[in-house]
Amino acid sequence: MSEAYAHPNYIKIWFWLLGLLVISVAGPMLEIPALTIITAFGIAIVKAYLVAANFMHLKFEKKFIWYLLILSICLLGVFFFGVAPDVMMTDGDQWIDCIADKSCVEQRL
């Protein structure tokens, strides 16, 4: 069994999560892309924090687990920034912009 700690008020957190869900669904109705990004992904991060900290009890967890998860996310960042130039920078002599010349669309088909 886990170590003793006071359980958070799970029902209250669940209501918070539902409130945030409503905002994330209502956000795009204003049809402002920048606001949609904030209401969709910003709120997703807040929801993820609420679930991880309270339901997964991460806020009661040893630092070791935090390091493990932070390391995983950092390595994911390395993957992202390592791959991003190859996918997104199509300038220069060594790059083939297959989207512009449609060759990657043909390859896909």
């Binding site: 669940w14 969709a40 993820a48 070791f64 390391l71 993957f79 791959v83 989207i99």
Partner: protein
């Protein structure tokens, strides 16, 4: 050697019980699996790859209902954990089965969605968006199914009075499945631009 319960219950070389450490280790690897897919999706979307405008064809209502279902099932599994910590096997068993019920509803809605999309010709090979859509949601659904099966096994175990700590472990896993969906929902259903 006599032993009361699995060694993962008692051994705690890092200060974290081995069973729980193993679950976090598993989830760290899952971050790469889903994170890698999400990362590639974002890269292709930012790059203006054709097909990503099809995100407007997914049903926000279905996605939102499924988010509600998973958030609620997360609540029920954490309540199962709270109940078993008090030694209330019956209540914990019931909450675990509410959670499994949530998983069934989630999969039912997902099946309805898949059917609608496939009928309209939006199959996995149509374009890159639908490839990501089916891969990410399909892999997620497999995790839901796996979680439900394990939860069912654990529920019968705790009813007999064995391995109470496993409720917490499957709970952590289930919350992670919920977390993944929290990010898939805006990515596939909301950000239609």
């Amino acid at each position: 050697m006599s032993m009361h319960g699995p060694i993962a219950t008692h051994r705690s070389a890092t200060g974290v019980p081995s069973g729980r450490l193993a679950i976090w280790w598993l989830l760290a690897s899952e971050i790469f699996i889903f994170g890698g897919l999400v990362t590639c999706f974002v890269l292709f979307k930012l790059n203006g790859t054709p097909g990503f405008e099809d995100a407007s064809l997914t049903s926000t209502a279905a996605g939102a209902i499924n988010t509600f279902v998973l958030l609620t099932s997360s609540l029920s599994i954490v309540l199962a954990h709270a109940a078993i910590e008090k030694g209330d096997r019956v209540k914990s068993f019931r909450y675990i089965w509410y959670t499994i019920g949530g998983g069934v509803v989630f999969l039912g809605i997902k099946t309805y969605e898949y059917t609608g999309k496939i009928i309209h010709g939006h199959v996995i090979t149509e374009n890159l968006f639908w490839s990501f859509y089916y891969t990410m949601t399909g892999l997620h659904a497999l995790h839901v199914i796996g979680g439900m099966v394990i939860m069912a096994l654990i529920s019968f175990d705790i009813r007999k009075g064995h391995n109470y700590q496993r409720v917490e472990l499957i709970g952590i896993y289930w919350h992670f499945v919920d977390l993944v969906w929290i990010f898939l929902f805006p990515l596939l259903y909301i950000a239609n631009f």
